[in-house]
Subunit: 339 residues, 2 copies
């Protein structure tokens, strides 16, 4: 791209929208214009701080021919309504679930399958996987490269910020209520989340699976280009503000050498391996908060019951690393590529 | 047993000791004497309420020939020191990990393998599995009866009360500190537990497994009498006061009929199956607190990736159901059996 792009952020006042803005500024991402846009329903007249205070415009009134690069950071309904129109003029990087299922739309984790962007012309749609899928694919990719994965069992520990700002306020206010001897309301998740865990993320479908569980399978195998890989997941919400965690039991087609697995993870793109020899060091959401640009892998160990299995634990900042960092990394690849 | 037994509770001031006392009274368990005992190190001069205030004596000064039935409810070190001496005179029901690994000591979940008590004479040791193993074995037993289990993957969501009263106070005080903008101390678990998750329970061993993960395998297959069953676990501590949860992915030697699995769980001993057809009802620790005498199973569903797998979620009160209720149920079987 010759001139710096004109950028628009749709859903700019959401947690992810604000994180995308932070990420653009932290990387000194080049742009000639920057538009912050929101649904009419959502409040907020400006985002950013004194250094860069942006007025928030209405997405319905925006002329997308004025943009070269558009980030969609809001609800799927917002993307469904506006993303295709925007993609007629610009590169559209969509963080919602709206287009993830479409085979013709590349589904990209910048650290894992940037090559999937090759089909994209000078405009068009890119979908980003959900945060837990981004984290899982980032950690599985280097392992799958040394030995084919056959079957992965996952249990998740989803932070409330995955459901947006209202869910975070709910956890805080429920916690205060319970410590004051009052009842939790359970509005954001249908049940109390303070000092509790809720065994599903997103809607339960008729076959009993939560949508997030199906997404983990569908999105991860597509990003890894491993159509035969089975991923069996249980997704669970925990009273944590930021940082999704996954307990991963990975099964391979043949026995795996632990030293090779360790080396693969140590040199993996976007990963940080916490010393598996240590009996006291392992990543947690609270610690990860201080360095949010990696997927942290810890407790790497042999599955005691078989040679074809290894277990590990991973933690990643669902808003900053898995959503905003991935979105801006995809944008960077597009902007930097030869015309 | 002809006369009502003389009972002693060692570790009577612990969470489990108090819960055993509550359980004995709730069941109107017959006894002629009731001794509350503690380690000298532990404070507490009396337990119970105005209806039954018990002085707490020192276990080192107690003459175990004055007891017919002894519950050990404290740390493993207390059991290691006194349980065998007590077992020379009385039935000893040990809730600690001290004797679980000994093949000659029956390891019993009253709802699952009461038959293991048959080897016991008019005195001697009985070991109880850890709380998570009790919950897992209770849920797997009826499934294993309709189709042999081959391999079970488990991720846990352990409540802090599993580490005793001090850990509960730690969660409460850390939460208050963080809501007040102060730093959490992270004393009980080595790391902050408020608004965080910690990916191990009990010590990490040299092969990378946490002790609790090995226990889940060893204890569950022994209680189920399924020596060939592989159980691969990740154990995780979450900021919940009471109620361990497990995400269970059960693999069978052959395809399993879902209707048969559902019927088996519905009629399972000590179980309560929450309607898997409902998209809004599932057990959580907060709800389970109001009816703590069952292991609650929810989100029963087919593993989407294969016919030989089913997934479910379980919640059980780790102190009352898995520890105290099991201990007193074992005692009841012993006391009721023909002389």
């Amino acid at each position: 791209m010759s001139a710096p792009p004109r950028i628009a952020i749709v859903g700019a006042t959401s947690l992810i929208g604000e994180a995308v803005l932070d990420e653009l500024r932290a990387r000194k991402f080049p742009y000639s214009q920057l538009h912050a846009l929101e649904d009419e329903r959502t409040g907020g007249t400006a985002i950013g701080d004194d250094d860069l205070k942006l007025p928030v415009g209405s997405v319905s009134a925006f002329d997308f021919s004025l943009a070269d690069l558009v980030f969609f950071c809001g609800r799927a309904a917002l993307s469904e309504r506006y993303a295709e129109a925007a993609a007629a003029h610009a590169w559209v990087i969509d963080g919602s679930s709206a287009f993830r299922g479409r085979a013709e739309v590349p589904l990209v984790v910048a650290d894992v399958n940037p090559g999937a962007l090759h089909t994209l012309g000078p405009r068009g749609l890119v979908a980003l996987p959900g945060s837990a899928s981004v984290a899982l694919a980032t950690a599985l990719a280097p392992l799958h490269a040394i030995a084919p994965l056959s079957r992965v069992e996952v249990a998740t520990y989803h932070a409330v910020s995955g459901s947006g700002r209202g869910a975070m306020e709910e956890l805080a206010s429920e916690t205060v209520a319970m410590l004051s001897g009052r009842k939790a309301r359970g509005r954001a998740f249908g049940k109390q989340i303070a000092f509790n865990v809720i065994p599903h993320v997103d809607t339960l479908e008729s076959d009993g699976a939560a949508r997030e569980e199906r997404r983990l399978w569908d999105e991860t195998r597509r990003v890894l280009d491993a159509p035969g890989l089975a991923i069996n997941a249980t997704s669970v919400r925990v009273p944590v503000f930021f940082g999704h965690c996954l307990a991963v039991h990975a099964g391979f087609e043949r026995p795996v050498d632990m030293a090779a697995a360790l080396a693969a993870l140590q040199s993996g793109q976007g990963l940080c391996l916490i010393d598996p020899e240590s009996s006291t060091e392992f990543p947690t959401p609270a610690v990860m908060a201080s360095a949010p640009d990696k997927v942290y892998v810890g407790r790497l160990r042999r599955d005691l019951t078989r040679d074809q299995g290894i277990n590990f634990w991973l933690v990643a900042d669902n808003v900053r690393k898995c959503a905003a960092h991935n979105a801006v990394s995809v944008a960077q690849i597009l902007v930097n590529r030869p015309q």
